[in-house]
C-alpha cells in the first residue's frame, strides 16, 4: 500500500492507495501517529484509491479518532468505494466518523 501525505495550513491529507490489511496497518498507524504527535490535529483520509480494508485498518482509525477527540482534533474520511463504505457501516463506524463523498467536502468539514 502507498501512503501519500500532503500538508496544508491547518490540516493534512493522507491518500491511501492499495490494500489496508493486517500486513499494512502497522505502517499506516506509524505515519498517522507521527503526524498527530507533530501537532497536526485535523486529518483527512482520502480513500479514492483504496481497494480494500479489513478490521486491522478499522482498529487504527478507531485508535486515531479516540486520540484526536481527546485533543479536540478531527478525523474526516472521504471518497470511499461503496463496498469499503459498507464495511464502516456494518462495523457501526459511520455513527461517529464523518464520511464525505469528495475530498472538497472533507476539506470543508475538517
Amino acid at each position: 500500500m502507498e501512503i501519500t501525505e500532503t500538508k496544508h495550513d491547518y490540516y493534512s491529507v493522507f491518500r491511501l492507495n492499495g490494500r489496508l490489511d493486517s500486513n499494512t496497518a502497522t505502517g499506516f498507524e506509524q505515519k498517522l501517529f507521527e503526524c498527530i504527535e507533530n501537532g497536526t490535529q485535523r486529518l483527512i483520509l482520502d480513500f479514492q484509491e483504496l481497494d480494500y480494508i479489513s478490521s486491522a485498518g478499522l482498529r487504527v482509525i478507531l485508535k486515531a479518532t479516540k486520540n484526536l477527540k481527546s485533543a479536540e482534533g478531527k478525523l474526516v474520511l472521504c471518497a470511499m468505494q461503496d463496498y469499503v463504505k459498507e464495511v464502516f457501516e456494518i462495523s457501526g463506524f459511520d455513527s461517529f466518523l464523518p464520511i464525505e463523498a469528495t475530498l472538497d467536502e472533507a476539506v470543508k468539514t475538517v
Binding site: R19, D21, S22, N23, Y52, S54, S55, A56, L58, R59, L62, K63, T65, K66, K69, D82, Y83, V87, I90, S91, G92, S95, F96
Partner: protein
C-alpha cells in the same frame, strides 16, 4: 475448485488475495462479492496467525475454495490451538463512542458477509467451513 497452503505469516495475505481473486474471476464471481469473501477469509486467517500458534514454529494453513450452483464454499484447516470463532461474543456496536472497542470486529465482519459458519475440531486440527450464497 482450488486448494492452497499459506505459511503462518501475515505477509501471506497477498498470496491469499491473489489465489482467491484468480479463482473468483475464473468462476465469474462479481467483484463486490469477491471483496466480501476475501475480507472474511482475511479476518479468519489473521485471527489464526495472531492467536493460533503460541510456538515459534512454521505452520501451514490449508485453504480450499469451491464454487458450485451459486454457492461459494471455503474450508480452512490449521493445526493451531483449538479456536471456535462461532463461540466469539458479538461486539457491542451501539455503545457510546468512548466505550467502543475493536475486539470481535473481525468475527462480526465474517458473520455479516458469509451465510454460514461451521466449526469442528478434527484430528488435532481446527476445521472451519464458510459458505456464501452468490
Amino acid at each position: 475448485m482450488i486448494s492452497f497452503a499459506l505459511k503462518n505469516n501475515l505477509s501471506e495475505l497477498d498470496a491469499l488475495c491473489d489465489h482467491l481473486s484468480q479463482f473468483c474471476q475464473s468462476c465469474g464471481v462479481p467483484k463486490r462479492q469477491t471483496f466480501e469473501i476475501n475480507l472474511a477469509l482475511d479476518e479468519l486467517f489473521t485471527n489464526i496467525i495472531s492467536h493460533g500458534f503460541p510456538d515459534e514454529d512454521e505452520h501451514h494453513v490449508h485453504v480450499t475454495c469451491d464454487c458450485e450452483e451459486g454457492l461459494f464454499k471455503i474450508t480452512i484447516e490449521d493445526d493451531g490451538i483449538p479456536f471456535n470463532p462461532t463461540d466469539a461474543p458479538h461486539p457491542n456496536l451501539k455503545c457510546a463512542f468512548k466505550d467502543r472497542e475493536i475486539g470481535g470486529l473481525g468475527i462480526h465482519l465474517i458473520r455479516s458477509y458469509m451465510d454460514r459458519i461451521e466449526y469442528t475440531r478434527k484430528d488435532g486440527k481446527n476445521v472451519l467451513i464458510l459458505t456464501k450464497t452468490l
